[in-house]
Amino acid sequence: MARGIGRQVIVELGHFALVMALVAALIQTTIPLIGATRGEARWIAVSRPAALAQFAFVAASFLALIVAHVDSDFSVLNVVQNSHSAKPLIYRISGVWGNHEGSMILWLQILTLFGAGVALFGSQLRPAFQARVLAVMGALGVAFGLFILLTSNPFARVGEPPLDGLGLNPVLQDPGLAFHPPVLYTGYVGLAVSFAFAVAALMEGRVDAVWARWVRPWTLAAWIALTVGIAMGSWWAYYELGWGGWWAWDPVENASFVPWLVATALIHSVIVVERREALKTWTVLLAILAFSMSLLGTFLVRSGVLTSVHAFANDPARGVAILLILGIFIGGALALFAWRAPKLVQGGLFAMVSREGALIANNAILGACAAAVLLATLYPLIAQTLLGRTLSVGPQVFDFFFPPMIALALALLPIGVALPWKRGDFGAATQRLRYAAAAAIGIVVLTLAFVSANAWAVFFGLALAAWVAAGTITDWAVRTKLGTGSLKLTFARALGLPRATWGMVMAHLGVAIVTLGIVTDSTWKEEAALLFKPGQSIAALGYTLTLDKIEKNLPHENYTSTRATLRFVRDGRTVLVLHPERRFFPLQQTETTEAAITTTFFRDIYATLGEQRGEEWIVRVQWRPLVAFIWFGAMTMAFGGMLSLSDRRFRLGAPVRAKTRTAGAPAE
């Protein structure tokens, strides 16, 4: 453990860099804002270098913390509390953000990364507007920089360094953890850019198509990251927590799902602003709310006001500080909105039955879903503080309202896609969708003929999945004029479609795939809990299962494992061998279950090893039809987002149009 003085001092340098980042953030938020108000070009010009400097300082600080963790520098409190010298390298690195202090640095790192992005790629924005956007992001940097330095300093030293650290929660020692938080945070924090754009637009009192064209890719990027992050979290829960559940309506899950719902509404409404200059006020409000929900999510996770499986982050004292940040930013933005929004000039007119109308319905439903999930998540807190009642709000409550609400959105989706802008003909749209409707009904009949199900709501769910998929494909067929010319011509037209259109098609197909996966897995999954003596065979799930052997105390880097060999025999042939494990982490004295999963296109087979009961072992096996579709569908949605993000017009930027469009924009 001998280290030179050079590496020791890295921690101090990291601490110093963090303070410098705060200074840069202070400059970034004050001088350019004054400059923008007074029209001083030199003051405005400070914003870009300040944003880049803030990013560089935070990066230096983050790097220093990573080095301290990799080096196992136990003179640093954060390393002592969250690391251990026997921990594999990857978890020493990912452990940096597996704890409160480190995750706040990560939060700040991503914020400044986006800030640097706006500084570098926003050179085509009007300088004063860019300065205002960066000033808002700088203000967030100040708030979180202060928060970290004052309440959660990861560089605090301990008086007498212990010989070794306390280690990282074993459940978090998983490759999934290395990537899940950074991706999710990218989504959370990416919405800060939309927020900053909205606040800057309110300051200037103008929102136009150019604004929308800038907001859209940033929001889309955040949405993609949120989608991937939530899917990863869900998948991690499925394979790591050992009971095969992929969504539990846990407060922390909801804390990421609510911003996702709002961001989904936002990426739809911002299209209306871009294409039709309508819905401006609403879109600005959504941009504010989306990030507010992210901040609230951070608050829920970090303060521990709601009990949750993610309890590793609990600390009520910090909650007060975050509540203060929450109040300043959300309250401030909403006050600004109330003051300035009435001055925004509303654009294009449209009829109720039109693409705009459908997108508004989408927004209303997604908004209502977000509000309902938020209310139900916070309800135990509300009941306790206002009604003096201690009660729980479990998944049953969410299952009561959420599926029917989202079903309405799914039912409207293909119709909305089929409607033209401005004014549509409901009859013509439904006429176009008759094949989609037939496909939906056909799939239900087909399912009914081959598989039994006990609830006809299941068929309704399957029909919705088919309806969305067929409706999306119908729209694609209409756009490529499939069937009217040669296939070659159709192919050429398909290639000629803008990437944004392809993105929409993929994302909506992803929605259908997720729906199919959820309905199928929920309806037809099978499970069995079995008691085996080693060597014994039991018939279950259509196989003959044999517990060939149990190997105990297999040594690993920082745990020992008990490994089962479970053989699946069908028609006298071994078709599958799974090795579920139980892992024991001596340092924390905890045991985790490691599920063994095999995935094919149609199903997962999932096995976990339970506790020992005398001579016998509990083994749980599950048959999960189409369960992987849930994550595959989410990834398809994210892929659609990426296609849309790569669309030509976002890369070219808006200034070409800005020159022709700005005339109609000013508010006053």
Binding site: A371, A372, L391, A455
Partner: protein, 160 residues
């Protein structure tokens, strides 16, 4: 209306609870009774874990509670009696699905209310904005304009 609400209730079955933690020895031999025990267990909170039902929790307390549920069912209690017994012992907190009363009225009623108010308010504002001033009628294009437009459309495919 009754059918619709039944449909909504059934839709609620879509999102599953996790696999159970019930151990092989715990199951009741009577399948009807076991099914009731499972649905009751799924609605009772494991008090020592975070946000898990006693049906999915591997904690010892959860196992004890599962046993109590099954014993009372075997003794002939109705579902409500079993749940009442648990509430009397552990308080309302034990219910993952809180009872509908005035303390939870907002929780149960709000989601659909928000949805309907939202749709109504938005529909109203759209009607108000576009209803008063009818959209201008589109003038017929001349043949020359039509050809020109077609040429433009061919060169620039429609964006999403």
């Amino acid at each position: 209306m009754k059918r619709i609400s039944a449909a909504l209730m059934m839709l609620a079955l879509f999102i599953p609870l996790g696999a159970r933690a019930v151990e092989p020895g715990e199951e009741l031999s009577n399948p009807a009774l076991e099914a009731r025990a499972r649905s009751i267990s799924a609605e009772l909170r494991c008090l020592v874990c975070q946000n898990e039902s006693i049906d999915t929790s591997e904690a010892d307390l959860a196992r004890d509670l599962r046993r109590i549920v099954r014993e009372r069912l075997k003794a002939g209690d109705s579902d409500t009696q079993v749940v009442d017994f648990m509430v009397a012992r552990y308080g309302e907190f034990v219910l993952l699905k809180p009872r509908v009363n005035w303390h939870t009225a907002i929780l149960w009623a709000a989601p659909l209310t928000i949805l309907f108010i939202g749709l109504f308010a938005i529909g109203f504002s759209v009607l108000r904005r576009s209803g008063g001033t009818p959209l201008p009628e589109v003038a017929q294009l001349s043949e020359g304009e039509r050809l020109k437009l077609n040429a433009i459309q061919r060169s620039q495919p429609d964006e999403a």
